[in-house]
């Protein structure tokens, strides 16, 4: 990941010197000749503003963060961080052995997975139910998008209010004879988090599933109608295979979002969070801005980058970067 952005930065800089070498990606002559006009006078300088911004605000801080993970930084040495004592891998050792980091990784990964496991069937159900035209479908599709549209901090504030002891959820459960206990503290807070995350993110799966359903050819519908397939069999054997691509994509992106999600747990539980929901982003944040162990926090952030890199790598391999007709269009 970091190397990726690095090379991007480097190549942006390289381009400014207008090394007008023909790209190795387009060896076939016909394609080249057609674009002969645009080959000469390429406005590569247009990449400079964006490239510069990304180098200054993403690449430099990324390197800075990696450097800081080797420093003994606290609130006193932060002002003069350049001259802070370099302590090598000690921060990493501490993060892995003497801090709740491993617990946080476990919480983050398991919560992301559990939330995905529920959002995927919900998303599919929503997509299948709104695929065929009926009166009021547009309205229902808009309604389905609401949780996705609401800002995370609003979602978290609202659920936080609803989950307060004695508040609306408790009183509803009480009226059917269930006494659920504390939602925002103690072991149950983990399930609260999953519940809210599911509520907030199933429309994303729904959207991608819908785009998958739209790729089902009409002939396929006709064929299965001719065969007299039952609706369940048709869904299971004919339609669902079309969803495999969009859904694996939804899975990967969803996992990345969940693992990186800071706002939802932060606003839902506040900091310091109960230890049952001390997720990776929360722990990193608290270590920085509550206990002021900046070096340790940088080490934690670096470890979380490695964790993120796994789904990200799969995602980047799977994604088609180019169309067939654009230059260099062979993946």
């Amino acid at each position: 990941m970091s190397t990726d952005s690095l090379t991007a930065g480097k190549s942006t800089r390289r381009k400014t010197s207008r090394a007008a070498k023909p790209g190795p990606q387009s060896p076939d002559g016909t394609l080249r000749r057609r674009k002969g006009l645009s080959e000469r006078n390429r406005p590569l300088w247009m990449l400079i503003p964006g490239g510069l911004l990304m180098i200054v605000i993403i690449v430099v801080p990324l390197l800075l963060g990696i450097f800081m993970s080797g420093l003994d930084l606290d609130q006193y040495s932060l002002r003069q961080w350049v001259s802070a004592p370099f302590i090598g891998v000690q921060n990493f050792v501490e993060a892995l052995t003497a801090s709740p980091l491993l617990h946080a990784i476990w919480l983050s990964v398991s919560y992301s997975l559990l939330a995905m496991v529920v959002t995927i069937p919900l998303g599919i159900a929503g997509a299948v139910a709104t695929q065929n035209a009926f009166k009021g479908r547009a309205l229902i599709r808009s309604i389905f998008l609401i949780p996705y549209v609401l800002p995370s901090f609003v979602v978290a504030t609202v659920w936080r209010t609803m989950f307060q002891p004695g508040s609306v959820i408790d009183s509803m459960l009480h009226s059917v004879g269930i006494d659920a206990g504390l939602w925002l503290n103690g072991p149950q807070s983990y399930w609260t988090l999953i519940l809210v995350q599911i509520w907030a993110s199933w429309p994303f799966v729904y959207l991608l599933a819908l785009s998958g359903l739209q790729s089902v050819d009409h002939e396929v519908h006709e064929a299965s109608a001719l065969d007299g397939a039952l609706w369940w069999n048709k869904l299971r054997y004919v339609v669902f295979p079309y969803l495999k691509g969009p859904l694996s994509l939804a899975f990967l992106i969803g996992m990345l979002h969940h693992i990186n999600n800071f706002t939802l747990p932060f606003v839902l539980f506040g900091v310091p969070a109960p230890s049952d929901v001390e997720l990776l982003p929360i722990l990193t944040y608290v270590t920085s801005f509550q206990s002021f162990r900046f070096g340790l926090s940088a080490a934690m952030a670096f470890i979380s980058l490695i964790l993120i890199a796994i789904p990200l790598f799969i995602y980047l391999r799977a994604v088609k970067l180019d169309d067939a007709e654009t230059p260099g269009g062979k993946k």
């Binding site: 929503g126 808009s142 504030t157 519908h221």
Partner: protein
């Protein structure tokens, strides 16, 4: 608002014989009762909490604390107090300023970047495309500390105060919005025919001329989508804003979060005000979505799938 097909894009099954009952039978995925159950459950799942936000915002704080769903007493007073008590007036002004300028600048920058990436061939092109996708997933918690240190160093070494001003937030949001905005524009520009540009070039248009006179007018739906996503990023962020702002430069998101956290312990929290403020913070976003729904949904799935 929008017709049935908009959110979905083009559906071939409907293009054939629109409204034909036979056709409907063929493409149907599920028996009617089953469909009704699913729709009811999902709509209830979504709408009950949403309705609760409104109902609680006009309820009394004691009523909310007691767990009422339907308020026993109505009052719209909360909507007038939140502007000063939560600090929503300054918060919203800052949010609009920061997120709005982020949206405009990021849309303009991303169309230029995407234009070069789509139309020209050069070394490192694929690397940049891949980096644009990868950078979307860089965890914010990883970046917040180094960016903070970088910005505070600029005060120490260059004498430019960035922390605590809207500039710091603007620069940060702009940078983090760029990868996705550019990717949305890349997928959009790919769909534009080359012929118009080529004609313009034969007429002697420069690169800048082609971009401003041909590409920009043709791709405004894409520009709107990438601008809105940049806006949402700035509007929804809590992490950077909570670290890099002072009370006077706070965004609405931080104002609400701080207000919520300060209600802990002590007397009954101002639930009504919290809900009213939530609704006010959510309203611009929801309205934007409803207006541009057809473009946004397309942009989102294109940004993700392709």
């Amino acid at each position: 608002m929008s017709t049935a097909t908009t959110a979905a894009g083009r559906r071939p099954s409907e293009d054939f014989r629109p409204g034909s009952k036979r056709q409907h039978e063929v493409t149907r995925l599920m028996p009617g009762p089953m469909l009704a159950i699913i729709l009811t459950v999902l709509c209830a799942l979504v709408l009950i909490p949403v309705a609760y936000i409104f109902l609680a915002s006009v309820n009394s704080d004691i009523g909310v604390a007691r767990g009422e769903f339907f308020p026993s007493s109505f009052s719209f007073e909360n909507y007038s107090t939140i502007w000063s008590s939560v600090g929503l007036a300054t918060g919203l002004a800052n949010s609009v300023l920061v997120a709005g300028s982020t949206a405009v600048v990021s849309a303009l920058m991303s169309i230029a970047t995407a234009y070069v990436l789509v139309r020209y061939q050069f070394r490192g092109r694929l690397t940049i495309l891949r980096a644009l996708l990868g950078l979307q997933s860089v965890p914010g918690t990883l970046m917040v500390l180094p960016v903070f240190v970088l910005f505070s160093s600029s005060a120490t070494y260059l004498g430019i105060q960035v922390i605590g001003t809207q500039w710091g937030l603007f620069l940060t949001y702009l940078t983090f919005a760029m990868p996705f905005s550019t990717w949305v524009m890349v997928t959009y520009l790919r769909g534009l025919p080359r012929e118009l540009e080529e004609a313009a070039r034969i007429d002697g248009a420069s690169n800048m001329g082609v971009l401003l006179r041909i590409i920009l007018p043709l791709s405004w739906p894409g520009v709107v989508v990438s601008g809105i996503f940049a806006f949402l990023l700035g509007w929804n962020d809590v992490l950077f804003a909570s670290v890099m702002t002072r009370p006077e430069s706070q965004t609405a998101a931080v104002a609400l979060q701080v207000f919520g956290a300060s209600q802990e312990g002590g007397a009954i929290p101002f639930y009504g005000q919290m809900m009213a403020a939530s609704l006010v913070c959510a309203a611009p976003v929801v309205i934007l979505y409803l207006i541009f729904q057809r473009y946004l949904v397309g942009g989102l799935t294109a940004g993700g799938v392709k």
